[in-house]
Amino acid sequence: MAETTALPFAGALKASRRPCRTRDLRVCVIGGGGTGAALAYDLSLRGFSVTLLERGELTSGTTGRHHGQLHCGARYSLADREIARECMEESLVLRSIAGDAIEYNGGLFVELDGEDSGLEAEFVDACRAAGIPALPISAREALAMERALSPRILGAVAVPDGSFDAFRLPLSFFAAARALGARIRAWNEVVALETSGRRVTAALVVDRSSDPKREYRVEADYFVGACGAWAGGLGALAGLDVPITSAPGTMVAVRARLCDRVVSHLHRAGDGDIVVPQRGLSIIGSTQSLAASPEALLPPSGDIPYLISLASRMIPSFAEAPVHAAWCAARPLAGRPPRLGAADGGRSISRDFAALDHAERDGLAGFCTVIGGKATVLRAMAQKAADLVCRSLGVEAACASADYALPSWREYYG
């Protein structure tokens, strides 16, 4: 685990810095999910004056509904080595800076049939090429590690996966950002973006954090959209077409902790191939489809028995445990599928992320949008976006978000 130190208080941090040009620059982050949380923190560490606006409660979009797998990257190793490598690196960073929010017990990729076993060597090679220490083990060894596994598995590969609390992890970033002086404003919705001379200059905000609501303007030197699957709506406020695809997935939780490790199906890709333990629950994820809007997504009723049947191939007792909850989360995919009804549910769209520079792309300065990505790489997404903010504003300030242990999420409310 990397060495980290306690986060310095805002005053000490600012005093310790070289004369820095970021201090008087205002950045407005729009979107209070995991990416916005990590970005508010990263920018605050770099010395910017940060305001984050979120229309509802923090983490109420896709972030909180994540099944909680801390990806070591093995799941992506066959399809995209760089994403796999990045997951491995970031999972270690998160463990070192937010260990209290993580159940770090490892993972097993299990082989259910001959085709899976035939993939094992390629999978292990791909993991290792991405820096992931994957270790093939026998079915007997796997069953000794996780007794609820199907006795019919043919073999397994052990990897350093984990699971995290999808609410507490981002809350720790918010707590850190606030400790450094960032203004974190939940229940504050951006309803318009003002532009002047092809530059975004202000956001018009409706504050519903108390009654009666009030409207105000936030002027800033730079605006970052971190709205995940909702990025299209924000872009539209500036007259932009942001290429984002909302790809909902269903998850089902049962009331039984059937494993300590994340249990995954060793295959290329498909539905219902990950069982994640979380406190006293086990969660099977996921399906993937495409939706025109990320709003008010509910799980199709057929998904529940479907996912339970897929989970029970890996862990038979999953089907016997009482269903606790079923829900849907909208993956924010960067790009567009060939058509909305694409049979693969958009799986052909990469899980990579990008910070879209609207100055370069659309001729509108002072604004970028973070699109794509996954929960495990939230800190890296923030780093990339903050690097773009620095370049756009012509300042140099290095990223330091991997260097300090984050405060407890309890401090966000404290």
Binding site: G64, N105, M145, A166, F167, A253, D260, A296, R410
Partner: protein, 209 residues
């Protein structure tokens, strides 16, 4: 599906909403309402599976997590839904949970050994404040969530036993508890804060000898 009417705290009063098809839980129903008829309705939510502890509310007067309360278990209604008690006010069903977090003992534990004994896992308490809302005590009181956390510390981390018992014996400690056990009935995670408070009392008595 039988039609259920939700009577939801809204501004200074209540608004009635008929539940739309497709919703399994109260939270699902609110999502459809906010996604359609009433986009500015405020309620807290995050994980949708009883893990984050944000969506607590009073359902016909009883503390529940809305994401785990199935519509099929409710009376045809109207079913009244109100914000939790003893929390800060945002509006509609949304509260500010700061009063809960203000009481939590400093540095109390987050992770513990898992059921199998070979791994680790997060503590059961999801800090949802249902127990605090349900507690009838009106005197200054750390409350059931904070005292349950202290007892878990005492049990799990021997080095912290002294601090946990000092916390429990303090001005806001176990003495104010009226033993109603409303906390244990409200807890969605079977933490049984009432039993934890009794356990602290026994430990305090044993230490006194």
């Amino acid at each position: 599906m039988s039609s259920v009417i939700l009577r939801v705290a809204r501004g200074d009063g209540f608004a009635d909403y008929e539940v739309e098809a497709g919703a399994l839980t109260i939270l699902d129903a609110l999502e459809l309402i906010r996604g359609g008829r009433d986009p500015s309705l405020r309620y807290r939510h995050s994980c949708h599976h009883g893990s984050c502890g944000t969506c607590g509310a009073l359902v016909d007067g009883s503390e529940r997590l809305m994401c785990l309360t199935r519509l099929s278990d409710l009376s045809p209604g109207p079913v009244t839904i109100e914000p939790l008690r003893k929390m800060g006010v945002v509006g509609d069903l949304a509260v500010d949970p700061s009063p809960l977090f203000a009481e939590m003992p400093e540095g109390s534990s987050y992770l513990r050994a898992s059921e199998s004994g070979s791994g680790q896992r997060l503590e059961d308490c999801i800090e949802c404040a249902l127990c605090v809302s349900a507690c009838p005590v009106t005197r200054p009181f750390a409350g059931p969530a904070a005292l349950a956390a202290a007892d878990r510390d005492r049990e799990e981390r021997p080095g912290r036993e002294g601090a946990a018992l000092a916390f429990a014996s303090g001005d806001r400690g176990v003495a104010a508890c009226e033993r109603s056990f409303a906390c244990s009935r409200a807890c969605p995670q079977a933490v049984q804060p009432g039993r934890r408070i009794e356990s602290l009392r026994r430990s305090m008595a044993a230490r006194k000898g």
